[in-house]
C-alpha cells in the first residue's frame, strides 16, 4: 500500500481518537502528564497571564514562557484547537521519524515506512500522553524534527529546534552533543563497521564550534524573549529550569526521583539533588565516544537514558525510546533479552496505573505500591537501555556459525 495512504489513515485515526470523549482518568493521569507538562496547569498559567497575574509568582505553573506566549497570542488555548495541534505535532513527529529512517537507509521510500509511522502513532506510551494534551508530546516532536533536520545536515533548523527543546525541557541538554556530532557526520548505519570519527580534533573543533555558537545565540534569543514575555522578570528561570534541579513538586510520576526526594532527609536533599542531576549528564560523553561511528544510535541511547533517569518523566519518554528502536532493525538479532525487557515493560505499565489508582483514588494501597511499580518500570527501561547498548556494540561482531559466541573480556 502506498505510504501516503497509510500515513493519512494513521493520522486520521489519531485525530479521531483525540476527539473521542476523554475519561478523567487519562486527563489527570500522573503517568501521562507531569507537573511540568500538564495541560491543566498550562491552562491555569495562560489564564493568570492573560489576567495580568505573573504565573511564575506561584508554584503551580512551570511551563516555559515560550508556550505561555504562544498560547496567549498565536493560538487560543481551546480544547478542540489543542487537540488538533497535538495531533498535528504527533503527525509531524511520525513523519520526521520516517524521514530519519529513509535518510539512514539512503532510500527515497521503503516498504517499512508505514510500519515506522504506525509504531510512533499507535504506540500507547506516546498517544496516551498526547490525548491527555501533555506538552511532553510537543517536546518529543521538537526532538524528532531536530534529529530529522540534523540527518539532512540542515544545521540551523536543527539547532534552533534543539534550542527550543532544551528551553522547554532542560534535561534534554543530554541530546546536544550527539546531535551536534551527527550534524558533522552522516546518519547512515555504521554499527556493523565501527571506525573512529571522520574528523580529527582540529577538524571537529572547526566544525562544531560554529554550531555551538549558533546554539548559544538561539538560546540567548529564546531566553531574552522569555524574559521579555515575563515583563523583564527572571522568576521563570527558577520556576521552569530550576525545577529540573530542585524538584520542588513531588507529584508522583513513573520516574525514580519523586519518591526518593519525598523520603529524603532534609539535610541530604541538596547533596542527592546534585548527585541525581549530575548522574543524568554522566552518560553523555561515554556513550557518544563509544558510538562515534553511529551518532544516530548514540542519540537513540540518550532517549533511553532520559526515559530512565530524567527528573519529571512521563510515559512519552520511554515511548520515544521504544519508537526510535524501529530505526535500527540491524540490531534486533543481537538483542540478548528482548522478551524479558518486553515482559518487564508490560508488567510495569500495567502496574503503574493500577497502583496509582489503588493508592490515590481508592485508598486501598499505599505509596509503596506505586513506588514499587516505578521501580519495575525503571528496571524495564534500564533493561531496554542495556540491551540496546549491547546490541549496538555486538552488531560489529557478526557470528557466522554456531560455534562462536560474543562476550566481553
Amino acid at each position: 500500500m502506498d505510504f501516503h495512504y497509510t500515513f493519512s489513515a494513521l493520522v486520521a485515526a489519531r485525530a479521531l481518537l483525540a476527539f473521542a470523549p476523554l475519561p478523567d482518568a487519562l486527563k489527570y493521569s500522573q503517568q501521562l502528564s507531569s507537573p511540568l507538562t500538564s495541560y491543566a496547569r498550562l491552562k491555569e498559567g495562560v489564564y493568570l497571564f492573560s489576567h495580568g497575574i505573573d504565573p511564575y509568582s506561584g508554584g503551580l505553573f512551570r511551563h516555559s514562557p515560550l508556550l505561555l506566549s504562544a498560547f496567549t497570542t498565536l493560538l487560543p488555548l481551546k480544547d478542540p484547537i489543542s487537540k488538533l495541534l497535538w495531533t498535528a505535532c504527533d503527525a509531524a513527529a511520525a513523519w520526521s521519524l520516517v524521514k530519519i529512517w529513509r535518510l539512514r537507509q539512503r532510500v527515497g521510500k521503503s516498504s517499512r515506512d508505514g510500519l515506522i509511522a504506525a509504531l510512533y502513532l499507535l504506540n500507547p506510551y506516546l498517544f496516551l500522553p498526547s490525548l491527555a494534551l501533555s506538552t511532553s508530546s510537543l517536546e518529543n516532536t521538537a526532538l524528532l524534527v531536530a534529529v530529522a533536520f540534523a540527518c539532512e545536515r540542515r544545521s540551523s533548523a536543527s539547532i534552533l529546534l534543539l534550542a527550543i527543546l532544551t528551553h522547554l525541557s532542560f534535561s534534554s541538554i543530554i541530546y546536544i552533543l550527539p546531535i551536534f556530532l551527527l550534524l558533522t557526520s552522516s546518519p547512515v548505519s555504521n554499527l556493523a563497521s565501527p571506525r573512529p570519527f571522520a574528523l580529527d580534533f582540529k577538524g571537529l573543533r572547526k566544525a562544531v564550534l560554529p554550531l555551538v555558537g549558533e546554539y548559544f545565540a538561539y538560546t540567548t534569543v529564546l531566553t531574552a524573549a522569555s524574559t521579555l514575555v515575563c515583563g523583564g522578570s527572571r522568576a521563570w528561570v527558577e520556576k521552569t529550569w530550576g525545577s529540573f534541579f530542585l524538584l520542588p513538586d513531588l507529584t508522583p510520576n513513573p520516574g525514580l526521583w519523586w519518591y526518593f526526594f519525598t523520603e529524603m532527609f532534609d539535610h541530604f536533599r541538596p547533596f542527592f539533588l546534585m548527585v541525581f542531576s549530575l548522574h543524568l549528564l554522566i552518560y553523555v560523553l561515554p556513550i557518544t565516544i563509544k558510538f562515534q561511528h553511529d551518532l544516530l544510535y548514540a542519540t537513540f541511547l540518550m532517549a533511553g537514558v532520559s526515559a530512565t533517569f530524567k527528573p519529571y518523566p512521563t510515559l512519552s519518554d520511554p515511548g520515544l525510546f521504544l519508537s526510535l528502536w524501529s530505526l535500527f532493525p540491524e540490531t534486533y538479532s543481537y538483542l540478548r533479552h528482548p522478551i524479558v525487557t518486553a515482559l518487564i515493560h508490560l508488567h510495569g505499565s500495567l502496574l503503574l496505573p493500577l497502583f496509582n489508582h489503588l493508592w490515590l483514588a481508592t485508598g486501598t494501597g499505599n505509596a509503596n505500591f506505586f513506588y514499587a511499580s516505578t521501580l519495575v518500570f525503571g528496571i524495564a527501561n534500564g533493561a531496554g537501555l542495556i540491551d540496546a547498548i549491547w546490541a549496538g556494540l555486538a552488531t560489529a561482531i557478526p557470528v557466522k556459525d554456531g560455534d562462536w559466541d560474543v562476550g566481553q573480556e
Binding site: 525503571g378 528496571i379 557470528v399 560455534d403 566481553q408
Partner: protein, 532 residues
Amino acid sequence: MFSALIYSFLFLSAHVFSIHAQEFFQEQLTLRPHRDGTVLGHFAFTTLLKSATPREPETIRIEDTSQHYTLFPLALGQVLREYAITELHLSLNAGKWSYDRWGYPEEDGVGTGAELWAWMAEGPGASVDERWRGLRSNLAGLFCASLGSMDEQRTTSPSLTFLPEGDLPGPSTPYQLRHGTLPSENVCTENLTPFLKLLPCKSLSGIASLLNPHRLFDADWHGMGIHVRYVENAGVEVRLTFQGVFDPVRYSTDGKRDWSLHSIFDRTIQKTCPVARHSKIRLISTTDAVDVSPAPNTFNAAFSVYDVNTVSKPLDISMQWSNESHFEYPLSLDSPPPTHISVRRTLKGTEQSRGQLAIVIENHQDKQIKASYLETMPWLLQFHLNSIQVKWNSAPRDDLMSIVSYIPPVPHSRPTLLQSVLTLPPNGTMDLTIDVTKPFLRYTEHPPDAQRGWDLPPAVFRPLIIANDSNLRRLPRIYTPILLVDLATPDFSMPYNVIIMSCTLIALIFGSVFNLLTRKFVLTKIPNEPPQ
C-alpha cells in the same frame, strides 16, 4: 480580713491611679436566647488607656519610655509597645458557629481555630514581617497557644475583608495588614487562665466571676478574643471577649429550656468588681412569653439591662418559659433567616491528587447584595483559577464574580490569597466551583498522625448592603466552617529503604552500562559437546 484589706487597697490604688493615668475599665455580659433553646453568652471586658497613642515604628530601636498601668494589662501592653502594633485581633475558637441557627455573633471573629490579624505602621527600624513574627511568638507565649506555627506559610494580607476597626493614626503613614489562621488550634483552659490574668479583677468578682472553665469549655461553641484598637480622641482600647453558646436543654433534667446564670455557669455574681466603671448584663428579649427574674434596672423592646454595681447580690438572672412543659426543637430554620446570606463550603472529590471546592451562597434578601469573598488557603490546596464556574440558580453567570486580587501559592512557603467580590441578585442561590490540586509533601512536612489530614482555614465573606442613605454598609464577617483535606502520605518508615532500593537500581543500570561501554568485545569458541 486579709483579703478585705487587699481589696480595699486595690480599690483605693486603682481609684487613685485610674484618675491619674486615665484608665477606664468596664465589663458587659450579653445574654441572647436562641430559638433552638441555646443561649449565647458574650463577655466583653474593655480597658481604655485614655489619650494614649500606638508606638510609632520609627522609635522601635530606641529605648521605650517606661510603661505604668494599673488596669490596662501590662503583659499585653508591653507586647503592643515592643512591636508597635496599632490594631490587633486574636481569636481562639472551638466548634462551628451556625449562622442559620444563631444569626450573627456578637463578635465577628468566629472562625474555628486561631485567627490573628494586626495592622502595623510601616517604618524604619524593623520590617513589618519581623514585627509580625515577634508578635506571634509573644502572643503564643502569653496565651499558651501554638501561634508560632502561624508562620509565613499561613500569613496573608487580605485588606479587603479585614479593615481596621479603629483608627490608624497619621494620615500619611502607610499601614500594613498581616493575617494568619491556624484552624487546627484548639482553645481550652490553658488559654483561659492567662486571659483571666489580664483582667483587673481576674475571675474573682464582677461579671468575670461567671467565667467558669468547666462550663465554658462544655459549651456547644466557645471562643475567646483579644481586640486592641486605637480610637482617635479616646486612646488605646483593649477588649477581651469570651463568647459561648450554651445549651440549657442539655443541662436540664426535665427537658426544658429554662435557664439561669447558675444553671449555665454554675456560678452567680456574688460581688462587684470595684474598678469597673460600668458593669452591665444585657439580656436580649425574645418574642416568646417568658418570665425574667429579677426585674431589670432598665428595659426596652430589644433588651433589658442589669447594672451589676447596683443590683442586689448574689445576682442570678433566670429566664423561664412557664407555659412550656417540654422544649420542642424547631424542625425548620428561622424564616426569614437571621443572616443576610448563608454560605456552605465543601471540598469534593475522592482522589488525593485533585478535587473541587464547591461553595453555595444563598441571598435571603429581596435586594441585590455585594459580598466580598476571601480565601487564605495554605499551599496544601492549590486553586485552578481558570476553572472557576459561577452559577446563579443553576444558570452560568460568570459576570457575578470579580477577582480583586490573587496571589498564587508557593509550595513550602506561601499561601494563596484570593480576594473577590460577588454580586448576589435578590433571592437566589449561587454555586461556585473551583478545581483544586492537592500537592504531595515531603515526608518531614507531615504532622504526627498524618492520615488525619490537614485543617484548612475558613473562607470569609463580608456582605455589603446598600443602606437607606444609599451608602454601602458593611455587615459582620461571615466565616465558613473549616475543611479537612486528605493529602497523600508516603510510608513514613521507608526513608532508608527507598534510598537503598532506588540507589541499587541506579547503580545496577549505571554499572551495566559502563561495563558494556568499557570492556572489549571478543569472540569465544564454544566447545563442541561430545557425542553421547
